[in-house]
């Protein structure tokens, strides 16, 4: 409860130097400030980096969108969500089934039900339909999750992940099962994903600062007090869950459109571990935390992966160390939780920190 008052008072204090700015405008600007580092890194890579790094950056940007989506529910509702990859998967498989050209489908899913083997929508329509599918699943699962208290909600989010994964694996006529689904049109590049990431960051910030976001954060900190002043926590959790799912679904769609090939295991525990570690390291209370965590861990993991595959140091060839990146992810989670549960960024967004810094400097 004390956090609430502090953050509320600082954000009003932030406004005073520049006069009475509209709150929405302030969040919008704040979101853009948070997105700036992302944009800068993206542009640098676009301008200077070799193709290999562009590919890494694409994957990192997709992770960024997933983590921001995760933050919308976890950060505001303070309930651990371990099932968000289900929505990433539904988004990706949605466009895979809808947008892949029929010639390709003849090879991969000739027996698809509902005549889906013979149609191909244009990428944008397919993406909208996939988002609709994500929304429907999110609304249905959200009905259950929003009613449950913390722990049970987390377990149900896991159950959702397992259900969706097992449908991908076993409905082979539609999703090709364990095999890779290939031939998805590659229509998205780094600029497109960067733009989406910026939009998503601003959106997450707008939600957090909105009336709904504020009420949800309040109810997460003190359910009784929030209920006493008439906050409908269940409805707000549902709203946050659906928004979070749509953002994750978008990440999946973008991934499918740049990679061209997907398989079910991409959207399972491996991704959950990684995105969760990123969010926790950065700090889940803020959108800035989500962004920071993704940047730090993406760089760190790339370094660890290069060791993992066996490097030679001073002429000595080290063996392959499978599992090293997994150990690192787990250690990051455990240490953050033990020593800095609020993550690198704590409770303040980047623009709030900057404003405080400049006020102190004056």
């Amino acid at each position: 409860m004390a956090h609430m008052e502090i953050s509320a008072s600082t954000s009003t204090a932030v406004a005073t130097p520049s006069g009475p700015a509209k709150p929405v405008l302030r969040s919008l600007l704040g979101g853009l400030v948070t997105a700036l580092p992302v944009l800068a890194i993206g542009l640098l890579i676009l301008a200077f980096a070799p193709a290999y790094y562009t590919h890494l950056a694409l994957a990192a940007f997709v992770n960024l969108i997933v983590v921001v989506g995760l933050q919308v529910f976890m950060g505001n509702g303070n309930i651990a969500n371990l099932g968000h990859s289900a929505f990433v998967g539904i988004g990706a498989y949605g466009v895979a089934v809808l947008a892949t050209p029929p010639a390709m489908k003849k090879l991969s899913i000739p027996d698809a039900p509902f005549g889906l083997a013979d149609i191909a929508l244009d990428p944008l329509t397919a993406a909208l339909c996939a988002l609709l599918a994500v929304g429907v699943v999110a609304a249905a699962s959200g009905k259950v999750i929003s009613r449950l208290s913390g722990v049970a909600a987390t377990i149900v989010s896991l159950a959702l992940l397992i259900i969706v994964h097992s449908v991908f694996l076993n409905w082979t006529d539609l999703f090709k099962g364990n095999q890779a689904f290939f031939g998805i049109p590659k229509v998205v590049g780094l600029p497109g994903i960067m733009a989406a990431a910026v939009v998503v960051i601003v959106l997450a910030r707008l939600f957090k600062d909105s009336r709904w976001g504020l009420q949800l954060r309040a109810s997460a900190q003190s359910p009784q007090a929030a209920a006493a002043v008439g906050v409908d926590a269940k409805r707000l959790r549902l709203v946050a869950w659906i928004l979070s799912a749509l953002i994750c679904g978008l990440a999946g769609i973008l991934y499918a459109y740049f990679a061209g090939t997907i398989s079910p295991k991409l959207f399972y525990f491996q991704q959950i571990f990684m995105t969760l570690a990123m969010l926790i390291l950065g700090g889940m209370a803020t959108v800035t935390g989500a962004v920071t965590g993704v940047i730090v861990l993406s760089v760190g993991l790339e370094f660890i992966r290069s060791i993992e595959s066996g490097v030679s140091i001073g002429g000595i060839q080290l063996p392959q160390l499978l599992g090293l990146s997994g150990v690192a992810l787990g250690v990051v989670i455990v240490l953050s939780m033990a020593f800095r549960p609020s993550g690198i960024c704590g409770r303040h967004e980047l623009d709030e920190q900057l404003a405080r810094f400049f006020r102190r400097a004056r």
């Binding site: 397992i162 359910p223 599992g323 787990g330 939780m337 033990a338 549960p341």
Partner: protein, 299 residues
């Protein structure tokens, strides 16, 4: 008739295993509110200890069983000391995520230090035989599983009801602060709870090794996910709920296996979880859970 009997035994055996693991989770949760995702890795430590001991020349199955249970209890206490003590008074989400992190670390350590591939362990295969009762052929493993699980549960109930430490554990699940005011040391209560939870996991590990004949890094992870689901159906933190939930889960799974046509067998998992989510819509607090009223101690 024979087929139905066999399936009934299957359901009971699966249910017994889920109950054992779910009870371990519930004992810890009821006391310190920790959602122990690393419980599966306690099973893993136990299984890999048996694997290593066998590789070093251990041949006695009895010693292997004792080793499995002992190693699991020790691992559980060690996890608590190293990882969970720093977050003991933190919110539930913090503990949950810490445990999730521990689970990832230990799973990947198995991969890194031993191997990502399945390792064969044959020392306990002797437990898995066919017994003949008149017209019925039954697997000794399933009968043993059922009997041992029942004994373990009876033992747990006796311990909780008859010993001072058991009384302290039950009291701690209601109000830890008052238990400490009575002069009981918190660390002892919690360490005991973890040791019990670990021992139950060790028993489960024995049956898993005997059935599969091999160990893998993610050996316990999937099982623990199911045990969590069992806890949620039963009502999180309720010991009776965990046992009932585990049994129910076993019956749902085997029931689906019998009811589903062969080609849809793969959907068993999805349907099981689907049924459970539907159950929760009807009773969000679980079958034996207590509905928390506003103003109660927050769960």
């Amino acid at each position: 008739m024979d087929y139905l009997f066999q399936q009934l035994l299957n359901a009971l055996a699966f249910g017994a295993e889920y109950s054992l693991v779910a009870l371990g989770l519930a004992v810890v949760f009821s006391i310190m509110g920790l959602v122990n995702f690393a419980h599966g890795e306690i099973i893993g430590v136990s299984a890999y200890s048996v694997f290593l001991a066998a590789a070093l020349g251990l041949t006695s199955p009895l010693v292997a069983v004792l080793l499995a249970v002992g190693a699991a209890a020790l691992a559980a206490v060690a996890f608590e000391r190293v990882a969970f003590r720093p977050v003991r008074y933190a919110p539930t989400t913090t503990g949950l995520l810490t445990a999730f992190g521990v689970s990832i670390v230990v799973q990947n350590l198995f991969m890194l230090l031993i191997s990502p591939k399945p390792q064969s362990v044959s020392i306990l295969n002797g437990l898995n035989q066919m017994w003949f009762f008149g017209p019925f052929a039954v697997s000794s493993l399933q009968v043993l599983e059922l009997v041992v699980a029942a004994l373990a549960i009876v033992g747990l109930v006796l311990f909780l009801n008859r010993s001072t430490l058991g009384l302290a554990i039950r009291a701690a699940s209601r109000d830890f602060a008052t238990v400490r005011l009575m002069g009981i040391r918190a660390n002892r209560v919690i360490a005991t709870a973890f040791a019990i939870s670990g021992a139950l996991a060790g028993i489960a590990a024995v049956f898993i090794i005997a059935r599969r004949g091999s160990v893998t890094p993610d050996l316990g992870f999937g099982l623990v996910l199911k045990a969590f689901v069992a806890c949620v159906i039963g009502g999180f933190g309720s010991l009776a709920g965990a046992a009932v939930g585990g049994m129910l889960l076993g019956f749902i799974e085997v029931g689906l296996l019998v009811a589903l046509p062969q080609q849809y067998g793969g959907f068993k998992e999805a349907l099981t979880y689907g049924i459970i989510v539907a159950l929760l819509l009807y009773r969000p607090e679980g079958l034996l859970g207590r509905r928390a009223e506003l103003g109660d101690k927050e769960a």
